[in-house]
Amino acid sequence: MRSLAIISTLSLFLTAVFAPQFVAAQTTGPLRIEITEGVIEPMPIAAPAFVAENTAAQQLADDLAQVVVSDLVGSGIFRAIPRKAQISGISNFDAPIQFSDWKAINAQALITGSVSVRLSGKIAVKFRLFDVFAQTALGEGLQFVGTRADWRRMAHKVADSVYSRLTGEKSYFDSRVVFVSETGPKNARLKRLAMMDYDGANLQFLTDDRSLVLAPRFSPDNSRVLYTSYETGVPHVFLLNLKTMRRKKIGALQGMMFAPRFSPDGKTALVSLSDRGNTDIYSINLASGKQTRLTSSPSIETAPSYSPDGKQIVFESDRAGSQQIYVMAASGGEARRISFGNGRYGTPVWSPRGDLVAFTMMNKGRFHIGVMRLDGSEERLLTSSFLDEGPTWSPNGRVLMFFRQTRGADGAPSLYSVDISGRNLKRVNVAGFGSDPSWSGLLK
């Protein structure tokens, strides 16, 4: 009883002492609000037609602006305000910006640019980026100079700069994709290597259609391509130099060689070799041809992919009875399983950021493209269809490209891209069919 009285007295005293201070602190300080819910929607931007500084640049100015807008809108992060909704245009690149006009149409960012064609035939593209509501410029203005043939790349460069300044991360517009272009009916499909800009433009074929080709992979410096070809009758891995367009067969191993992948330094290739019913992973030094066996289990190990630092390898194996994903040291040795979900997992690819692994998952007759962390956590499936396969990472690790095969006798593969959040799933605009994409790094 006595202690209770003491406690009551003490409580009253403390309340009397501190409660007023607490209340005072609550009422005298600034109003504090916590925001925990937001929206995820494209940011509205305005990109009026670029200013043509001479008549020769008239068409280029319009085309450049359209490519810039297409890049930004295609990312799913930005939304372009139609030009007809814009109150005022930009007629002089150096004139002051009437922010009120752009603020009125709710544009959060404004891109202005100009294009000029010089006497040498080169074109110069200048641009500036503005924060409309802050009424300030975002970074310095930039200028790119190149040949007329490179105008799309210059447009991609402008879009990359805008993307990086507004999102704070690297972009991926000025990049390329190598893939297998397919033509013809399903039972007589012709396949050949092709390369294009990330958006499907500037398509060019790298091989003819006389032999079946599979799984092309860009080198880290974007100058070479590893791919699998049946031109010798059995699948084997070739190295194609994109500058000289010369190719060579790598390795001297007997058996079927496929699923090549470059190391981060571009000096080594990982391949899968199937010999007498067993498939294992090997590394091949591209300069010396030295071969090293990395796995030796009686199961099937294939689809290897280096980590960005080159110290680890992620691959698929059925050593546990079903197709799952494992990680081991780049020099081989003990592997640990990281996939534990329902279904079978394959074609793992390490993210250029190093934090995620993209994969193909097969479950209950459907295919999914998904990502997971290196410990197998936070697995999420991004797509679902009759056949989705072959994911490849964008240079910034934010977007995945893969191919989707449609069902039926007329089924054909097409290239798709999706954000790692699962949003902005869209088909890549490619002439013909396409499969096995491999995204390059950002071009220099």
């Binding site: 009422t27 300080g29 916590e34 925001i35 959040s421």
Partner: protein, 386 residues
């Protein structure tokens, strides 16, 4: 033989003569009894009050009557004017201190007491009052309150009933020791401190400061049969509170009333809010309106994965039109050391504030002081991709 008779006769005559004359002489030599008679002049109430170390609350408050102190404070009172308490001074006034050594001890004591009373009177606070006890009533006070004053059924400081027996001892003081020697020390009359007397009038005129914000009338305590002797366990929060208060508006109204003030509300909060911005604070719905307006404009779609892991706190000020004041938006803190990610997170937050406040937030103008300065924490944890 006759010689003996003569001697005997002379002796008897002398004895008779001494008896006749000696009684008168003896009556002249009686020890002075004035000291005893003088002491009895002081009234028992005054004597008890002045010699008591712990005066009763009403005595302590009522003793220094303003007229007397005011009369003494402007000019230094004469020694014989100083002790004018309860009529005791009437007897003392007729005696000069220097000429009444037998009374010097008492008068000195009275003067000292008088000065002590004057000096100690200014702040007769409740805790100093004897017998005031901090207790929790067994039953709610409100249930026993018949004065019409609404008293919450919580803790209160309750004064105990006055003692039925008088605090002044009516027994006469014993006579001083006759063998005590007279003191030759001349003691000057004590002059009240002017500084002390100046502070007295204001304090004596008002009631003692309440240690509790609840009013506990003394009349009630007198009629109370007994003081509460034990504390009751505080009532738990009702489980069906949400059912009792059906709508958010009722909750807001209750909160606004409780925080804004009234005299019936919790007094500590009211006292503390005196330093806060005037007027009632924002209600929950008003805060929600502000929060929702910003959330609808907080677009995380353009944030990088790193920026999606950053929580930023942004401070800004609003004009009376509810629009963010230019130049006041600033980053206060960030959970990430990466400048790039923090910058992106801050930019998204800043855009949300500017966009949502472009036409002015819908906030009550009369509560401007409450929403003039705002700190918003943007936490994307729920929006993060997992």
């Amino acid at each position: 033989m006759k010689t003996g008779i003569y001697i005997s006769g002379f002796g008897h005559i002398a004895l008779l003569g001494w008896l006749l004359i000696g009684g008168f002489l003896l009556s002249q030599r009686k020890p002075p009894t004035m000291t005893v008679s003088s002491v009895t002049i002081v009234s028992p109430e005054a004597f008890a009050a002045l010699t008591s170390n712990a005066p009763a609350p009403d005595t302590a408050i009522g003793q220094p009557k303003p007229p007397q102190i005011d009369a003494a404070s402007p000019d230094r009172p004469k020694p014989e004017d100083a002790p004018r308490l309860n009529g005791a001074g009437a007897a003392l006034k007729v005696q000069e201190p220097s000429k009444s050594p037998d009374l010097s001890a008492i008068t000195s004591s009275i003067k000292t007491k008088a000065q002590t009373v004057l000096a100690d009177m200014p702040e007769p606070s409740a805790p100093d009052a004897p017998g005031v006890t901090l207790l929790v009533p067994t039953d709610p006070i409100a249930a026993r309150d018949n004065t019409g004053i609404k008293v919450p059924d919580r803790l209160a400081i309750v004064t105990p009933p006055e003692p039925s027996s008088p605090r002044v001892d009516t027994t006469p003081a014993p006579a001083p020791d006759p063998s005590a020697e007279k003191s030759n020390l001349t003691q000057k009359a004590t002059v009240p401190d002017a500084a002390a007397t100046k502070a007295i009038p204001k304090t004596t005129a008002k009631a003692p400061e309440q240690a509790s914000t609840r009013i506990v009338p003394e009349s009630n305590t007198k009629t109370s049969p007994r003081a509460p002797v034990r504390s009751s366990r505080p009532k738990g929060r009702p489980r069906d509170l949400a059912k009792r208060v059906n709508t958010a508006s009722q909750i807001e109204k209750a909160l606004a009333q409780a925080q804004a003030g009234g005299k019936t509300g919790p007094k500590p909060a009211v006292a503390a809010s005196k330093a806060a911005p005037s007027g009632p604070p924002l209600t929950i719905s008003e805060k929600d309106g502000l929060r929702l307006a910003v959330e609808n404009r907080w677009n995380l779609g353009s944030l990088s994965s790193d920026a999606m892991r950053v929580t930023v706190t942004v401070g800004f000020s609003l004009g009376r039109d509810g629009k963010p004041l230019p130049g006041t938006i600033r980053l206060i803190s960030s959970t990430d050391a990466s400048n790039a990610a923090s910058k992106q997170a801050y930019e998204a937050a800043r855009r949300a504030i500017l966009l949502s406040g472009a036409k002015g937030f819908d906030l009550p103008a009369q509560k401007y002081e409450h929403w003039r300065d705002i700190e918003m924490t943007f936490n994307p944890e729920k929006m993060r991709i997992k």
